[in-house]
């Protein structure tokens, strides 16, 4: 027996190729959408992996530091460091803002880390592709290459200028913004910095408050003003444990004694993937559903019209003794062939288009496999209408009324 579907496809290959191409672009978009989601998850994991932390200590009852604001006193880390099983504990601040280079603005996540002897502590960029780590306490920066900054660039963060001394890779926020590391003190200032006018107003208000300006206590007002204009808060303390230490147990201890909230790596991943990007995931899911429906409609329509064009021939085939099964298989195979052409075009399109997207698009082989199976299932489903119609064709119709 010859393949009726194959012969028909060869005969009207133009229709199949053009439809397959259109379908392929849709499938390509679908694969990229899935890749965008995978990219978001991967960004989140990269954020956690590259932080090098085993525990995240944040303000009580918050989902900080990435999903919610969190603020802690910057001396807390010492107490945590004293706990058995804790190898390192480091203050960090996270702040998403625009970073200026000349006339250009780059949306970045500013990470404040303690420079100097704590080098390599959790929160630090684990490796550099160029330059060196931050060594001075002020005005140096290490930037992710995705910012487009170069070594030696002078970048502006709020009112201060920083020199880019090192470049790193794959350091992104959970939102995909590239990171810029600066010394903690600078970051604290950037986070809470008021404009000059506000500082002046605040000073004036404090100075006129009799509670702070007591005749018998010299220096009180100055101390108060000083405390108001400096910032002793950080967003989180990142903790690295000794090898073999039990993260859950140590986390529980910190929680109990310090009235803080502590997350382990799996809990943090749950927050980022399950909460922070959950809405985006749903949004992408909706798009996938729509694209699936549109693809199904296209396949159904094309297969239906192709079958419609052959209604006479189908009646003749049935009259001369072709099995219904053979006719159904012919239509099904054509739908599957369309799907295969579409998938091939889609996969190629997605592979070439993915790097052009501004955010990280991660095309995972298992998504392609799932996509391929979904395409086949959709095509098979879409061919049902045409198959139903073909099976209803009366072989007697081939004999003139």
């Amino acid at each position: 027996m010859i393949s009726l579907a194959g012969r028909d496809i060869l005969h009207s290959w133009g229709k199949f190729v053009f439809t397959g191409f259109g379908l392929g672009l849709l499938i390509g978009v679908t694969l990229v959408m899935a890749g965008v989601y995978r990219g978001m998850v991967d960004d989140a994991k990269a954020l956690l992996d590259n932080s090098g932390a085993d525990l995240w200590v944040v303000q009580q009852d918050t989902l900080g530091p990435y999903a919610e604001p969190s603020s802690l006193n910057d001396d807390l880390y010492r107490t945590i460091l004293a706990l058995p099983g804790v190898a390192e504990a480091a203050n960090v601040t996270y702040l998403t803002m625009q970073v200026r280079l000349d006339e250009r603005d780059v949306r970045s996540m500013i990470v404040g880390i303690v420079p100097g002897p704590t080098r390599g502590a959790p929160g630090w960029p684990p490796y550099l592709v160029a330059g060196r780590q931050i060594t001075r306490g002020h005005y140096e920066a290490v930037a992710d290459v995705a910012t487009g900054f170069q070594l030696g660039d002078r970048i502006g963060i709020r009112r201060n200028q920083y020199t880019v001394v090192g470049l790193t890779r794959r350091m992104v926020s959970s939102g995909g913004d590239p990171m810029v590391f600066i010394p903690l003190k600078d970051a604290q200032e950037a986070q809470f910095l008021k404009d000059n006018d506000a500082i002046w107003q605040s000073r004036r208000r404090t100075a006129t408050n009799p509670a702070f300006d007591r005749a018998g206590v010299p220096g009180l007002l100055d101390a108060v003003l000083d405390s108001q204009s400096s910032n002793n808060f950080v967003n989180a303390v990142l903790v690295r444990l000794d090898a073999g230490a039990e993260p859950d147990a140590i986390g529980a201890a910190i929680r109990r004694w310090q009235r803080l909230t502590v997350y382990t790596r799996p809990q943090m991943e749950q927050i980022l993937v399950g909460k922070l990007i959950a809405t985006s995931a749903k949004q992408i899911g909706m798009f996938l559903v729509i694209l699936a429906v549109v693809s199904a409609a296209i396949v159904a329509f094309i297969i239906y019209t192709l079958t419609m064009d052959k209604i006479r021939e189908i009646a003749v085939l049935k009259l001369i003794g072709t099995r219904n099964r053979t006719i159904a298989a012919m239509i099904l195979q054509q739908a599957i062939a369309l799907g295969v052409i579409g998938f091939a075009v889609g996969k190629i399109t997605a592979t070439y288009a993915a790097p052009l997207f501004p955010k990280y698009v991660l095309l995972m082989p298992q998504d392609s496999v799932a996509g391929f199976l979904a395409v086949l299932a959709i095509c098979a489903l879409a061919s049902l209408i045409a198959i139903r119609m073909a099976l209803r064709v009366d072989p007697a119709a081939a004999i003139g009324g």
Partner: protein
């Protein structure tokens, strides 16, 4: 030899039921011997197509008997279990229009029938080529149907009807789309084939040009057949 060719006795067909019932065939008697070509003529609505559909086992008669070769295939009900196989193996169809499968070449259009019956591709193709030669279209064996002239297409369609060597061929106005020269050619071919393959051929037609070629003609009117001798001039 195919025994009796085809014999029909008291065949009735009623469409619908109750007040709207139409008695399309009211007791048709007909017999066509192997090697014989008979004409079936009658005005529009007289029941020609209904008779062909009953013979072709695509609709169920309401009563009567039909014998194909030596086998009683219908006797107040089908006596054959697989009507699809009956159509495929034992009845050849030639339609008003060739109705060739547009995506198969000439050889495979003809070879498709034996292939459907499970004959290996190469053998099916060699059977097809043999018939194409008999019908003098072997030179178009690799052509697609759209590349053929109307007459060539109809000859390929006849080859398809004959390829499984059925004892009977039902031809439904096979000359309708053809000019008189080509129509005559088709009738000549049908006669030759009937002789060569010992096939009983029933030709439904309106075509005044070809009516004189039949030796025997069945007239059908209001669902009843009357046999008469034709001019029987044949085709030179």
């Amino acid at each position: 030899m195919s025994g009796n060719g085809i014999r029909i006795e008291g065949l009735r067909k009623r469409y619908g039921s109750g007040d709207t019932a139409v008695d399309a065939l009211k007791g048709v008697d007909m017999q066509v011997a192997p090697g014989e070509v008979v004409g079936l003529i009658g005005p529009s609505g007289s029941g020609k197509s209904t008779l062909l559909k009953c013979l072709g086992a695509v609709i169920d008669p309401s009563a009567g008997r039909m014998t194909l070769g030596d086998e009683l295939i219908y006797d107040e009900g089908w006596r054959v279990r697989d009507l699809r196989a009956l159509r495929r193996d034992r009845i050849g169809f030639v339609f008003q229009a060739p109705y060739l499968i547009p995506f198969l070449d000439v050889t495979d259009n003809v070879a498709l029938l034996p292939m459907l019956a499970g004959v290996p591709n190469e053998e099916a193709r060699s059977r097809a080529l043999e018939l194409l030669s008999a019908l003098d279209v072997q030179h178009r064996a690799r052509a697609m149907p759209t590349e053929l002239s109307g007459g060539e297409q109809q000859r390929v369609a006849i080859a398809r009807g004959l390829v499984n060597r059925p004892p009977v061929i039902l031809a439904d106005e096979p000359t309708a789309p053809l000019d008189s020269e080509r129509a005559m050619a088709v009738i000549r071919i049908l006669n030759e084939m009937a002789q060569r393959y010992d096939t009983a051929i029933i030709v439904v037609t309106h075509d005044e040009k070809i009516i004189p070629t039949f030796k025997r003609i069945y007239h059908i009117r209001d669902g009843v057949t009357h046999e008469e001798a034709g001019a029987g001039r044949g085709v030179e």
